[in-house]
Symmetry: C2
Subunit: 190 residues, 2 copies
Amino acid sequence: MATVAARNGIDVGALVETIEAIKGKPELAEFTFRASTRWHEGTRSTAEIGSFLHAGAEDETRERAYTLVGDEPPVLLGRNAGPNAVELLLAALGFCYSVGYVANAAARGIEIEEMSYELEGDVDLRNFLGISDEVRPGFSEIRAKASIRARGASEQELKDLCAYVQETSPVRDVLANPTPVETTIEVLEH
Amino acid sequence: MATVAARNGIDVGALVETIEAIKGKPELAEFTFRASTRWHEGTRSTAEIGSFLHAGAEDETRERAYTLVGDEPPVLLGRNAGPNAVELLLAALGFCYSVGYVANAAARGIEIEEMSYELEGDVDLRNFLGISDEVRPGFSEIRAKASIRARGASEQELKDLCAYVQETSPVRDVLANPTPVETTIEVLEH
């Protein structure tokens, strides 16, 4: 195939090489990602996201860890120092869809000119607040709406790509389908 | 009961009032949270998190929207401008657990001195990369480890609270259990 340096800012040659390398050595597709959070006061914590494991080896390309602040609004007893956990989760879904769409578009020869996602989720916090377990703790429904302007594909092709990205999205998968979450606690001594 | 201005930075009086208000008017527990993302180049997008709906009305307490940057590391064709989507999701789980733990601890008279979470998740990206649908797109397992130092409770009580928080956590719920995700696309005209 003709080499394309980059499309949509995606190095298509590197994408093809990555896929071929994984076909030959499937463990190159294995990642363990990490985050850590530290509580400060009230509903406010910070998170750090640093290195990760790729095929069993530490990826050291990040010069420093990313830091995020999480908090709640006053109506949920916080001080608005940052977004809350479920809002972050919606942002994560938008980021995930964007990466999937742009990379697959690059591979299919589609040039993205503009792409945004609007995400929302409905939640009844009575379970979280210990008032009722007749509602679930988390979102009853999440809605994601893509707005995309692109060249090199018909409207139907862009819609088909949206459906494909949805089916292969890591974040959408763990929301739509059950994922084992193992939670443990170490009680620290005085 | 005796009034406690704040414990762990949580206004316990306000917490009790919130719960009582919701018992009388359940729609006060209904929220619609939102995020929006905008693609920039390659795997890089930014997210904005602003106001939200509470009991059908816009909450306007945030002076401005929070902005996040999402990107991928070079091994996933990005430039490390920010954490990726599944890492954000792990941070969200830690934030969610922290809020649940600190608020319930405050209500139970437990004083938190130190609390952190370490989170990790394993993913095989062959599905995401279109190589194999024999693996799921998202995390095969997520692990969360709390480290907590607290006064006013036994080790067993702190462990029991961890289990309770896990059961009532909105983020853990949407990971562990299926959540409807409705995805639509608007193709923008030239």
